[in-house]
Symmetry: C2
Subunit: 439 residues, 2 copies
């Protein structure tokens, strides 16, 4: 019997495990997960901090017993892999205090990502918003504080700051970039969500944190210092690939390099999810996109290939979405800053529109910025800010860009129109028209 070993029981790992059991009933599938949670959703942690729900079991799609009893997976929670010997097909695991050794025929690395930290003198009151397994503890700690520094104005920092501010905390958000979400949208777009943030959060922009002292109670930046009750470090994550350093080929930010089948430089060894590198379909370069839908699909692809059915992960375009209060902010593909950095000559259009017909109650503002390649009018990216129907419009562009659509294609998309939920000239179509026809 062939033995498949999966390290990490998150989105990618459990997606892979379930599919292999389905496709290959004869294979033995073992999953090693260092926490007590599997098939969990880190994406929910900010909303848990906000108090939108209280039951930490809701973080899990299924509980461990489901995978063991219903899906026949040899799932071992609270089991951390300490060492990995790829060539010898062998791992050393730590279960509570015991150390054990496991062999395998196929390996899937699905260890996710780990938070990046800043210099500090102790972590007593330094927090990271990361694994749902630690969410209850984290919430208890943060809710007991009054004034909290959040370091980082990316998706994670913004979602954390929002949650804490809604809970009545005094939040100082310190961000090195010129504006929040600057790795997600262009500066012109930030003006559509910034005022609301500024009204609720003490935003310190263009300010770099040098170190955190007093075990989390003092944040020193290049412009001053902040005395707080505790500090959340939310400056980003990196691939959790330390276990395989020196054993497998690593790429962007040390993510694990794979082919389209999610197979690494070592035959029979796969990587999926946040730990794996991916290929950007627009820039035609390696990329790293640590988001849940990608992780799930990579796990799916790895499972099929382990089971001997060829499936290929086609690559990524870089879809992101977050929200601040009522306002959703998202992008697909390249911002104009990114496109320029990748040496594209671009055409772009910015449209401010409404989400419903003039005469229909409840209409909201929506902004769409569309970026296209000057030469062939291929769409390179979109940025959208609005309060409803942002998700679907992002997905339209994800599909469009992945299918190589031009602004002409997007203009002629036969969009749905109902006054209660749309404008007859959809903002996507208008943005495409601006580039396609000059207005």
């Amino acid at each position: 019997m062939q033995r498949v070993l999966i390290i990490g029981g998150g989105a990618a790992g459990m997606s892979a495990a379930s599919w292999i059991r389905r496709l290959s009933p004869d294979m033995k599938v073992t999953v090693l997960e260092s926490t007590q949670m599997v098939s969990h959703a880190p994406c929910g942690v900010p909303y848990f901090l906000e108090g939108l729900f209280d039951d930490p079991n809701l973080f899990m799609t299924y509980e461990p017993s489901f995978f063991i009893e219903k899906r026949g997976i040899d799932l071992r929670i609270n089991t951390r892999v300490k060492e990995l010997n790829i060539k010898d097909r062998h791992v050393t695991v730590e279960i509570k205090d015991k150390v054990e050794s496991i062999d395998y025929d196929y390996l899937i690395l699905a260890t996710g990502s780990v938070p990046i930290t800043v210099k500090n003198d102790g972590t007593e009151r330094v927090y990271f918003v990361h694994h749902p397994a630690h969410a209850s503890e984290l919430r208890k700690a943060l809710w007991s504080l009054n004034k909290i520094a959040v370091i980082g104005g990316g998706i994670l920092g913004i979602e954390t700051a929002e949650a804490l501010s809604v809970k009545g905390k005094k939040v100082v958000l310190i961000h090195r970039g010129k504006y929040p979400l600057n790795r997600m949208v262009d500066e012109d777009i930030s003006s559509f969500f910034l005022p609301k943030m500024i009204s609720e959060i003490d935003l310190r922009l263009g300010e770099a944190v040098l170190e955190v002292r007093d075990k989390g109670r003092l944040v020193i930046t290049d412009k001053g210092e902040y005395k707080v009750d505790g500090t959340v470090i939310a400056i980003g994550v990196r691939p959790n690939s330390d276990l395989v350093k020196g054993q497998l080929k690593l790429g962007v930010y040390d993510s694990i390099v794979t082919n389209e089948k999610m197979e690494t430089s070592e035959k029979g060894v796969f990587a999926a999810g946040d730990v794996a590198q991916s290929f950007n379909l627009i820039t035609k370069q390696s990329d790293w996109v640590p988001y849940a839908p990608v992780a799930n699909k990579m796990g799916f692809v790895a499972a099929f290939n382990v089971s001997g059915i060829e499936k290929k992960f086609p690559g990524v375009v870089g879809t992101m979405i977050t929200k601040y209060r009522e306002t959703l902010v998202g992008k697909v593909g390249l911002t104009s800053a990114e496109a320029t950095r990748y040496n594209f000559k671009i055409k772009e259009a910015l449209v401010k529109h409404k989400t419903r017909a003039r005469y229909y109650p409840g209409s909201k503002d929506i902004w769409v910025k569309l970026i296209a390649n000057e030469k062939d009018s291929r769409i390179l990216g979109v940025e959208i800010v609005g309060q409803e129907e942002v998700l679907g419009r992002l997905d339209v562009l994800a599909e469009a860009i992945m299918k190589g659509a031009t602004v002409e294609d997007l203009f002629f998309m036969e969009n749905a129109y109902l006054p209660a939920v749309a404008r007859v000239w959809d903002p996507l179509v208008l943005a495409a028209r601006k580039i396609y026809a000059g207005d």
Copy 2:
């Protein structure tokens, strides 16, 4: 100076007029519109009947004076074209009581559609929900009645019945089809919106109206008769092409045949909007899609070609959306019944899902039915029922189908995910997965 004459000042006509003025400042553009309204939105009439707004000027994107003064269009409202002599490039118009004659170099027919009626003995209390120019009158009449028969269970009938029922009227909806919206979605899908309709409206399904008597107060069907205070006939529309019968080539339901440039069988004569035929990209056959986004884009294409800049209308896939109360119902492409009728061998998947993460408040049900070609897995259609984010998901499919996407493409679409507005396995992706991977 070249003279462009446009008949009809609706979506298609005014879109064309505005673009020609922009592209060809030297051309004289005359628009003849039989009512007092232009660039109007018939789509808003049901919501006006419901009482969601009261100002009929809101039906117009711009008022006539704007087009005359700001855009330099020779716009003549309250001016009906009585006769049209295509060969001689000449029309006879009726302005109030006067009759006048106008010559032209280019003609754009944008006369829209007209309601289909049933046999009746007088129309005193027989109503049609059609042109916004008559909406105030119509509303006054309908609001004064108590029990109203609505004939037709398509989009128009459903939207009208909803409006009147919300206004407290007793509505009997008589529909020949087996279930409402049967030309839009398959029967299995109807169970997701039918119960709510049945609880509020006296629905008579599978019943054909033979005639309306008593000038609107008695409806005779093949199963019985209904005494009511008035009757709304909403069984559909047909292309308003009577003016050109015998002069231009007509196609599906007598819509005007054009090429991709929207030019009819007669050089220099164009047709756009509800009066024009279109080409279905899935069935590769002529089709007729009388919806506003299509009308606008056809007007745009006609304008460019009249101005000597070649643009091509690529064709349609058949996107539709409506709602009953909170529930949106939409489709793109072919239903499975339609696909079968067109001799496609199909694979299909039905997914019931939620719109937000398990743990996020306010999540709603959503149903997605995906239809694909068995042979090459190309997507042929989608049907969606839900309460939020239905529009965008329809547009994803409009774009996907127009770009020839397969279920594999849709599965690997890098969808946006945020727990507040989505599921990590989006229902579209799940539906695609069901066909692509069997689950």
